[in-house]
């Protein structure tokens, strides 16, 4: 009996000491999420390794929930009206439905079409010109205008500090109630970085649990020969910057990538967007100039504006007859991920009218 008792005591002692050591180690990594419900990053089958792996920002349920609340909170904007979610609407794959320019931006020279948000963890750079080099710092652009940045971030922190809910959520996410810009940004990245789109009909076809119609099948082949070099599977973008011959809007004077690199060879180049969810994310292109997928497809046929930086793949345009256009569009429509568009997890947590949608 005694031996058993001693064994137990020794074991307990060991466990206790071990936990002490582990604790002293883990408290050294101070800015990591402290939330106690770890979440696994979703990496769909067939996807490459993500670029953003939540290494300095441990993904937890608590951090995600905080990010979700922040994403949908209008108090993050100056006048309280514009949350991230007001420009990035879930039913439009987190783009702005039906508006070329989202309301609320100050800086008229950077007026652009809101980008649909998904699979962001696979991106190295953000915005149409790739000017943002990290998912975590991206929100600073919409949240603040460059000159008054300091005050604005301060005001947001002051506003959030007043809310008991937020103090509680920051504590459960980061270990204490302190609200800082860094924590706000990390929490937002937990939410935005978790948005994954990989459950469209196309994805189910790939898995063998759905079949394409003959139209879709023919469209898939047309896509593979004509579009895949810039919009390759599975992300449907190669994340490069290219000039596809959109004529310069002389009112906006947006030269795209050149604004970031200062190089004339980058003039009129814009980030290749994903083709996933384009059936719900109109209007299209960096300035939202096209209202329909058909208009985009026709652009590659007869609207290409030649200039020195025009992509070599598009020198002769890509033309489709009417039947082919129908096929191609049928395929592009298989890229809509209705699971994501209806996912409760990514919806506005305050939206009580979300009952008609399955909570999963």
């Amino acid at each position: 009996m005694k031996t058993i008792r001693i064994t137990i005591v020794a074991m307990l002692l060991f466990v206790f000491l071990f936990s002490q050591i582990v604790q002293s180690f883990s408290s050294a990594t101070s800015n990591n999420g402290k939330g106690n419900t770890p979440l696994q990053q979703e990496i769909p089958d067939g996807f490459p390794m993500p670029h953003y792996k939540f290494e300095q920002n441990k993904l937890t349920q608590e951090g995600f929930d905080l990010g979700r609340k922040l994403f949908y909170d209008g108090r993050l904007s100056k006048d309280g009206n514009f949350s991230c979610g007001s420009c990035h609407q879930q039913f439009a794959a987190f783009s702005t439905y039906d508006h070329s320019f989202s309301h609320g931006f100050n800086n008229s020279s950077t007026q652009r079409n809101a980008i649909a948000l998904f699979n962001l963890a696979w991106q190295k750079e953000f915005h149409h010109d790739g000017g943002i080099n990290h998912l975590e710092v991206q929100p600073l652009a919409p949240l603040t205008s460059p000159n008054e940045m300091a005050e604005t971030m301060n005001t947001i922190i002051q506003k959030l500090k007043k809310e008991k809910d937020y103090r509680k959520m920051f504590k459960s996410s980061f270990g204490d109630e302190k609200i800082t810009g860094q924590r706000i940004l990390k929490a937002l990245a937990q939410f935005t970085g978790s948005i994954v789109s990989a459950d469209s009909k196309y994805d189910r076809m790939k898995k063998g649990i759905a079949t394409f119609t003959p139209y879709e099948e023919r469209g898939y082949l047309l896509y593979k020969t004509n579009c895949a070099s810039c919009h390759p599977e599975p992300l449907f973008t190669d994340l490069s910057y290219r000039n596809i011959g959109l004529s310069l809007d002389t009112f906006l004077n947006d030269f795209g990538r050149m604004k970031i690199t200062g190089k004339s060879e980058d003039s009129l180049k814009f980030k290749v967007p994903s083709l996933r969810n384009i059936a719900v994310s109109a209007p299209f292109m960096h300035d939202g100039r096209y209202q329909s997928i058909k208009a985009c497809v026709e652009h590659y046929g007869n609207k290409i504006n030649k200039s020195t930086t025009l992509d070599s793949l598009l020198q002769n345009g890509i033309r489709f007859n009417r039947a082919q256009t129908v096929d191609l569009i049928a395929f592009l429509r298989t890229l809509t991920d209705s699971t994501l568009l209806k996912s409760y997890r990514f919806s506005d947590p305050e939206n009580k009218s979300f009952n008609n949608i399955d909570k999963h």
């Binding site: 005694k2 031996t3 001693i6 064994t7 005591v9 020794a10 002692l13 060991f14 000491l17 002490q20 050591i21 800015n31 300095q56 920002n57 800086n107 950077t110 915005h127 000017g131 943002i132 080099n133 990290h134 998912l135 975590e136 710092v137 600073l140 652009a141 603040t144 460059p146 940045m149 300091a150 971030m153 301060n154 800082t180 810009g181 860094q182 940004l185 990390k186 990245a189 604004k259 970031i260 200062g262």
Partner: protein
């Protein structure tokens, strides 16, 4: 009963291990080095209320002057001993008196050379949301073209053609040919001896006049502003990299 001894030994051993794991972090002896930054225009100390003249003869006033100091290293050119301050970033801001004096814990020893980076290294420029000196709240981060402003000078001049005669220099950029990072190195005029009882003080002066004329002549009349990375920013950085000089080294 037979098992009792080994078990006791085992628990003792764990205890021992635990105390070892704690004691191995025994600190090396350290001394305190204080770096103090003073700002001037030529031979006059900077004040936001005064007007100055650059070497081109243009008048100007200053309303903001701040810059990053990072990657500080102390070394001894005789012994090869080196101490690099990992992950330490300081924003020196004329407006915030306390920011102009930074206090560093350095392993005891004799040092002959001080080296630091004027700016924020490229790794930290690409590592996402940061805190403290690197918090974007400090107004030293470009949000539309991610990256830190390494040094900022604002004010006004009758030679400026900008609105309200403003002058505005936000110098930054860390990529390839746009790189504005500058390593500053000084052989100290006397050996700095650091140990637990001695505090050393190095006073550095930074002369703003260098911004306008040094390697390049950058008249206000022609360049009242520079707020994006690029060739002009690189020229300003080339100029201001020589703004520092060591005023004094002392111990107490």
């Amino acid at each position: 009963m037979k098992l009792r001894l080994p078990l006791l030994l085992f628990s003792l051993l764990t205890l021992l291990l635990f105390s070892f794991s704690n004691s191995k972090v025994k600190p090396t002896e350290k001394g305190t080095l204080v770096l103090q930054f003073q700002h001037l225009v030529k031979d006059k100390y900077l004040s936001f209320d005064s007007a100055y003249k650059n070497s081109i003869g243009e008048d100007f006033t200053v309303s903001k002057f701040k810059y990053y100091i990072s990657n500080i290293e102390l070394s001894n050119s005789n012994t090869g001993k080196k101490h690099f301050l990992q992950d330490s970033y300081f924003l020196i801001d004329e407006e915030v008196v306390a920011s102009k004096t930074i206090s560093l814990e350095i392993p005891s020893g004799d040092y002959t050379t001080l080296r630091f980076l004027l700016g924020v290294d490229s790794i930290k420029n690409m590592s996402g949301a940061q805190a403290d000196a690197l918090d974007p709240i400090n107004g030293m981060f470009w949000t539309w073209n991610s990256g830190y402003i390494m040094a900022k000078l604002e004010g006004s001049s009758s030679y400026s053609k900008s609105v309200h005669n403003k002058i505005e220099y936000h110098i930054g950029g860390f990529k390839k040919e746009d790189n504005t990072l500058k390593t500053i190195q000084f052989s100290l005029p006397q050996v700095v001896k650091l140990d637990e009882t001695k505090k050393a003080l190095i006073t550095l002066e930074a002369d703003i006049a260098t911004w306008f004329s040094n390697k390049y002549e950058l008249p206000i009349s022609q360049y009242p502003a520079c707020t994006i990375p690029g060739k002009l920013a690189v020229q300003f950085a080339e100029n201001y990299k020589d703004m520092f000089r060591i005023k004094s080294v002392g111990t107490n």
